[in-house]
């Protein structure tokens, strides 16, 4: 069997003010990418970007984005990503830049990489804890993280209340 091949870019959105990450949504990221591609590669790039380009996943809390590009031209579209300097969402401009962490052929390999990457980051950050208590707390919080349906809804509620705070 043959399938249509794509490349998935696992990118990290860097912002100065981390609380503004929550304002991001996938449409805003897609628009920013398309605008950057159109600027650097013109009509040709914009046309390539209109075929099978999509933002597959966006984690507004950690600023992780999965971008899907056609395999044929992913290098050309990738080269436009460093030119993104801000993302416009809900009438606000968030100054940011995208840092590409991994390029994968499937979402699964990207997810595996992301888990490994996050574990590495955790091991790097744990020694920075001020005391044992803090360390224990972090470990407990991680162990409590399970994705059940009920939990997810609670999480979404929390997310919405966060947004309201932002708007006030």
């Amino acid at each position: 069997m043959v399938r249509v091949k794509s490349r998935y870019l696992l990118c990290e959105v860097h912002v100065t003010d981390r609380s503004r990450l929550l304002l991001l949504d996938d449409r805003a990221v897609a628009l920013a990418v398309k605008a950057a591609v159109a600027r650097t590669h013109g009509d040709y790039g914009a046309a390539l970007c209109s075929i099978r380009f999509s933002v597959k996943y966006l984690n507004a809390h950690t600023g992780i984005v999965f971008l899907r590009f056609p395999k044929r031209c992913y290098k050309l579209l990738w080269s436009a990503l460093p030119f993104i300097t801000c993302i416009e969402t809900r009438g606000q401009k968030i100054p940011c830049f995208l840092n590409c962490l991994h390029v994968g052929g499937t979402i699964r390999t990207c997810q595996k990489f992301l888990i490994r990457y996050n574990t590495q980051q955790l091991h790097r950050m744990l020694p920075k804890c001020k005391n044992e208590e803090e360390k224990q707390e972090v470990q407990k919080a991680i162990l409590n993280c399970t994705l059940t349906r009920g939990n997810q809804e609670a999480f979404e509620d929390e997310f919405e209340s966060d947004e309201e705070d932002e708007e006030e």
């Binding site: 159109a38 600027r39 650097t40 590669h41 013109g42 009509d43 040709y44 790039g45 080269s79």
Partner: protein, 138 residues
């Protein structure tokens, strides 16, 4: 690519093998404007071509290296030199250039060669050689 197409003989297929070929391609183009009285300087022409590249290939395309070696203002004929890697980009953007200052226009590509076109039969003025001072080099 020599004067094979003289009047009495039909044009003959000739295969030219180039060893140590130059990295350039040479293009002879002609600009056809709707209003034929419009004057266009060499700088205007180059700017126009760059704007076409910018439209089609963005800022990366506008940074493409090419030279305007010769330009005949009356006939609106020009000789371009471009690296072989950029030939397709330049050619396609020339094709898609459709209007100059709100009047329709078109580029006719008269000849494309890997060798300097002055040595070819269709050149602008066959006496010029590659290093003649009449070159523009914009």
């Amino acid at each position: 690519m020599r004067r094979a197409d003289s009047k009495d003989k039909p044009s003959v297929y000739q295969r030219v093998v180039l060893k140590n070929a130059s990295p350039y391609h040479y293009m002879k183009i002609c600009l056809v404007l709707e209003d034929e009285s419009t004057k266009l300087s060499a700088v205007d022409l180059k700017q126009f071509i760059i704007s076409g590249l910018n439209n089609l290939y963005g800022e990366v395309g506008a940074a493409l290296n090419f030279d305007l070696l010769k330009y005949d203002e009356d006939a609106l004929t020009a000789l371009l030199r471009v690296y072989s890697s950029g030939l397709v980009k330049l050619w396609s953007s020339l094709t898609l250039l459709g209007s100059y200052q709100n009047q329709t226009c078109a580029f006719r590509v008269l000849q494309v060669s890997r060798r300097h076109i002055t040595r070819c039969p269709l050149c602008l003025s066959s006496e010029d050689t590659e290093d003649s001072p009449s070159h523009l080099w914009i």
